[in-house]
Amino acid sequence: MHIPDNYLSPQTCIAMFTAATPVIALSIKKVELQIKEKKETIPMIGISASLAFIIMLFNVPVPGGTSAHAVGATLLALLIGPYAACIALTIVLLMQAFLFGDGGILALGANIFNMAIIMPFVGYFCFKIFDKFKYKKTGAFVGAFIGINVAALLAGIELGIQPIIAHTAHNQPMYSPYGLMITIPAMLFAHLVVAGWIEAGFTLAVYRFILKVAPGELYQNVKKTSQKSYNVGNFFKKLLIAMIILCPLGLLTKSTAFGEWDAQELKNMLPNHLVPSGISHGFSFNAIFSDYAVSGLSDVSGYMLSAITAVIILYLVSKIMRKHYHAK
């Protein structure tokens, strides 16, 4: 799955680097937090990277007499956690590109994105789903299988879009010459039929052994012992900030929401233009921020100001109620 140089256009390489950088940065931040708690994490990631490298050297028999190697991305995510696995695999890809010429140097961003980000995170996510239903081994197997296939699909898309985005005036492709119709089936076929099973079988075999011999060494179990209670408050704070920023999206729709029409709008909509008297002569209240608009401000600013005001009022109410509740 290592994409060599010259197969991806410089634009794609830059885009893939841009996509991979924030995830790597986040992983570094997460791992740095782990390091603060447990300083041995640094050598652990280094040695895990060596382990991932060795895994890629090891050939596994394939039915039919040949052999192929596993990547071990999901396995690493199960052993040391997805963030640490992401860094370890990035290191492995760096080594392979810079020391052995395996995989391109400019295509490193794409390779990191596919193999060091997508594979361990997708694999770990699938594992977590099965783990909820207590199917750990099935989760490890399915996670590894899906992880490698999603990564292969992405590699197929990256290669397949090259003739579309980079071609000469005579429509000759400048980089990977095959279109999506060839690259996606080719990549998926190879991984669905052969590589996926090797990855899944390998992951399951090692995971099963460690689960049996030393279950405490698995990331999930290590995490459980040192896990802090999840801060729900922080989550809601972030959610609220995101909602405030995104609330002007409501302005994209010009029409009024169903059931919120005023008398004039209702009159225009009804076929006989007859508005019920209860509505036409009913109680009407002019709020300060009517329709979330503030005089002298644009619609977007008005929307955001309304949201901030509502949040502050709700925060104050909740604070008073919390105090009242604790006092009881």
């Binding site: 197969y7 640094i42 895990s48 290191i91 010429g101 400048m174």
Partner: protein
Amino acid sequence: MPNDDLPNWLKKTNHLELNNQVVKNSRIIQINLNIISFFIKHFQNEPLINNNKQSAWLKLISMLIILILVLCSNSNRFIWSVFIIILLQTCQLSVKQIERLGHNFIKMFLCSVIFVIPNIIIGNVSATLFFIFRLAIVILNVAYFLQINSWQQIIIGLKQLHCPNLIILVLDISLKYIHTLAIFLQENLWAVRLRMVGKPLNNQRIIGKVFGQLYLNSKKYTSEVFNAMLLRGYKISSVHKSSMNLKKADYSLIATNLIVIILFITIGI
């Protein structure tokens, strides 16, 4: 009267099936032993790096500039010029280095070119040939870079280019421990091979045990490495920072890069 029938134990076929399974398993183990042995030898060999006095960061940047320009160019003349420049640089290497460069180049080129060969059959001959030519230059440039740099120099280069400390430290540790883990894996595979004499073993279980054990051992190594790091005065926030100074030997590399950039502007676009 002599009995012509074969004895029952010779008629049994499950012995043969058993042997076939043993042979199959031991073949896989042998293949992996060969790969690991080759790899260990590769790491034990002293790198053939000449006394190159150019700055590591500049060599890294120079390689990237040439790669990007070659990839952005669609001109045969420009790529040919870059080819000549790389060949001139290669002339400065020793014979052993050139041999190794050639060997690496062929290996990397064959691995990369195999995917594009079917395109010739589809009919895009001229475009594919140009693609292969450009691919060869890209790989030659990378092979030359790998030949003039040891991994220590690459790490120094990355440090000078302000790559995150965590990445550099992990890279350094993993490069040192690949060799240790490979030796451990080799020993384990030998042990498995000896235990396989005469009885078949389940391949999946063997792999699970070998790599599970390798992981558990690597966890043990972790504490050793950490103690060694503490003894050497390790602190999380590194105070030492490598600066990006220019040396006298760097000017020739800068001149080469300038020539490549000028060629790209004049004939490369």
